[in-house]
């Protein structure tokens, strides 16, 4: 799997001018991916980036890889064909909240269910950017947009809940402005065998600026988010003096040192637990919001299962060619 070639992020930059709005988090994502790729030890020509339509879906053009800029909502379905047809490729789906959860919702949940080894990077800006600002399935109730001038009335999806509800085995959440964390997690997502969903809390400066400010603003982010890592206690806070504990069936944020709580009381993250109960609690938490890899459970992928079955059938069958079939 490892290759001789040593890449830098520049090897993954295409000659196309990047055309997102100045200040858009999409730039951060692009650079983070470009930095993650050299760490994967995969020859450049084996990457395929598939997208639908949206600001986010312009992504493949800016990468110097094989790619398909598909039609709106169908990226996961196209990628499914790419990967089933050639499991040797490393497939990334670059998609928006509209692309993957509005028109593409069905392909999204089915991709997740099937557990094909591909990486879905979901740019969740809680808005339709490319079409200039209509609410999306992740927009909040009351949010004013061009199609909800008096406030949005439709309750949003929680991406993590939906993913795990569709039997998702890998789910991570990352701040759109944290390039370092993104790069780490893209590498992990790729390493994971199976469908990985990475939700990026992506700021759209033009149509939904500040949607994640409460969690991503440098001044408060350490207090308002907790990054979980497998095998490590769920500690957060600027002074790393806060943590999560389980109180019955509820997660609670506590201060270490107060009320007799010590570091040992803090929950240790087990991303690999097949039972999603705790992962779902983490996914639902709003304050602190949980970032990092929340769930990562290895199961047989569809293409592994397919390959095995095909081998079995081949072993039993005498048909090797069309001529055998019709003889």
């Amino acid at each position: 799997m490892t290759t001789q070639i040593k890449y830098t992020y520049k090897d993954f930059q295409s000659d196309q001018e990047v055309r997102w709005c100045p200040g858009c988090d999409d730039y951060v994502i692009l650079r983070s991916v470009q930095k993650a790729l050299p760490q994967m030890g995969i020859p450049k020509e084996k990457f395929v980036f598939v997208s639908g339509i949206g600001c986010s879906s312009r992504f493949p053009y800016y990468m110097d890889n094989y790619g398909i800029h598909g039609i709106h909502g169908r990226a996961a379905a196209i990628a499914t064909g790419v990967k089933l047809a050639n499991p040797d490729l490393t497939v990334f789906v670059m998609t928006g909240d509209g692309d993957s959860l509005a028109i593409g919702g069905n392909h999204f949940i089915h991709a997740v269910r099937r557990n094909i080894d591909m990486n879905i990077i979901l740019f969740n800006n809680e808005i339709y950017g490319l079409t200039k600002g209509q609410f999306s399935p992740t927009s909040r109730i009351g949010q004013k947009t061009k199609t909800s001038p008096y406030g949005n009335t439709q309750p949003p999806f929680n991406v993590g809940e939906l993913t795990i509800g569709a039997d998702g085995r890998f789910f991570a959440r990352v701040p759109g402005n944290d390039s370092k964390m993104q790069t780490e997690i893209y590498v992990e997502a790729q390493k994971f065998k199976g469908t990985s969903v990475v939700e990026v809390m992506q700021n759209c400066v033009i149509f939904n600026d500040g949607a994640y400010r409460f969690w991503t603003d440098k001044k408060v982010r350490d207090e308002h988010t907790v990054r979980v890592e497998h095998g490590k206690p769920m500690i957060f806070g600027k002074d790393r003096d806060k943590g999560l504990i389980l109180d019955g069936l509820k997660l609670k944020a506590v201060k270490i040192g107060e009320n007799g709580i010590t570091e040992d009381d803090i929950l240790v993250h087990d991303a690999h637990n097949p039972d999603p109960t705790l992962h779902l609690m983490l996914v639902r938490l709003k304050n602190p919001l949980v970032t990092g890899i929340i769930r990562s459970v290895r199961e047989e992928t569809l293409e592994e299962r397919e390959a095995k079955l095909t081998e079995e059938v081949k072993a039993k069958s005498k048909i090797r060619s069309f001529d055998d079939l019709v003889s």
């Binding site: 800029h69 499914t80 095909t310 069309f322």
Partner: protein, 619 residues
Amino acid sequence: MTTEFKNKSKKPVKRLDHVTIRFAGDSGDGMQFTGTQFTTSAAMLGNDVFTFPNYPSEIRAPQGSLYGVSGFQVQIGAHNVDTPGDKLDLLVAMNPAALKKNLKDLKKGGMIIVDSDAFTKANLLKAKYETNPLEDGSLKDYIVVQVPMTSLTREALKDIPIDSKSKTRSKNMFALGMVYWLYGKDPKYTIEFLRKKFKNKPEIVEANIKALKTGWNYAETLELIPVSYIIDEAPHHAEEYKIITGNTATAWGFLAAAEKAGLQLYLGSYPITPATDILQELSKYRQLDVIAFQAEDEIAGISSAIGASFTGKLAITTTSGPGLALKSEAIGLAVMLEIPLVIVDVQRGGPSTGLPTKTEQADLMQALFGRNGESPVIVVAAKSPADAFKMAFEASKLTLEHMTPVILLTDGYIGNGSEPWPVQRIKDLPEINPPLVKEKIEGWHPYDRDPETLARKWVVPGVPGMEHVIGGLEKDKSTGAISYEPENHEYMVRIRQAKVDKVADFIPPLETEFRDEGDLLVVGWGGTYGSLRSAVNELNEKGYRVGLAHFNYINPLPHGVKDVFSKFDKIVVAELNLGQFANYLRMKHPEFRYEQYNKIQGLPFTTEELVNAFEKLLK
């Protein structure tokens, strides 16, 4: 004929050229199996055959109900047989409902074999008969052969240790035995088949064979059957033909094309009547490395096929009308990407859900034009069950060599119908040479074109140094980068059209059958070929000067249309819709005047109605 089944009766034997038979009964009566057995035997023995099943749309309707009747029709002939036949010579009716539903298709003077045991009060009621047709004289125009099949079968099998239900169920073999005798056919293939199929259930084999023989013997001795028939056999056919349905033929055509092109076959599909069989058939061939992916819907099916095509597979998607509608946006993407993709539409009755189990040719316009923008695709159509093999292969060749999607139109009639398919081996088939690139080419651009076909090259992930992105936005004519340039757009729209138009240089020119000049040219396309051929044949036999021009290739039209059309006084376009191909010809060849003959009843043409209609035009 094996000695055991030598006709030992003194009854006269009449020689026939062809005969049409329908087996009809409850869905549970095994009529499809019975019909298939008879067909296979006839074909193995050297007759030509053509079948058409007619299932109820319900999965398993209540026993004895009218809407639960399942029928299987076959025409067998000493010579060429192009249709399953119009009117029946023989109707086998296993119950009153089967008789009621099918009687109207029987020829005056034709024969009915019924299981008289099934004509109970309850069954008559379910079939909405007020009086028993076997008794009320309503069948006086036919030869009615009443046989208490159920009891005779049960009696014959009384010593075989199987349950009573299985005994009763064997009555279809009794009926089959009778029909074998009647047409002088040797049941040996059926006996062999039963032995193989129920290898592990010797009692079932015994029961079935016993029932078959009993029926055979019964027919031989029954006075009610005063004569038996013979349809000349040409045994040299036996080895080189397989009887397959159009759907199986389609699936096999793709298998062959993939192997010939040296590619893996990828199918992305979603079940829909009457196209599901193709998906089901291809799901069997993991040993041939076929990937048959059942997706969550039609859009995912085609989208995944687009993804697979991008990686260098022969990618196809199969569906019927409503599914084609759903795929239209994605077909447009494939047009724009200029990648190979075959879309099969097994047409059914529309609009909307329409008549899902019935046949029609009303998706032609959708196939040609059902996409946003100027979005030309190659459109071809299969003309018979066996021809579906050829056209699936041809569709694959065209899409692979011309790098643009192809829509293959078949229909429920030829998809479910069957006829002998001349077995072909890979070596007999034409070469397929896709412009697949496996190594870096210096100076290559994604949208550079082959001057002859205007096809671009097929560069797939994995080739180092050739990384590129393709997408649905308009692209620069060479680099493939997004381009909003007005002139470039016009150029690209026209070149995509030209690429499709150019296919005309690579397909056979239009030919006529029967005669190449005359008073009337019958024009058809797709699955109506058999019916049209029969009708034109009959007209020529009657002394009319009628030609037939049948189209396999629809977009582009083959060369030679003008020449062919101009040699006839009148042109009539006959199709199972309101005139879609006629209208298309008006667009492409406005210089001619087209008469139309149309039928939209969910049924194929009958030869008779065609002959009548065309005769009127000739007067």
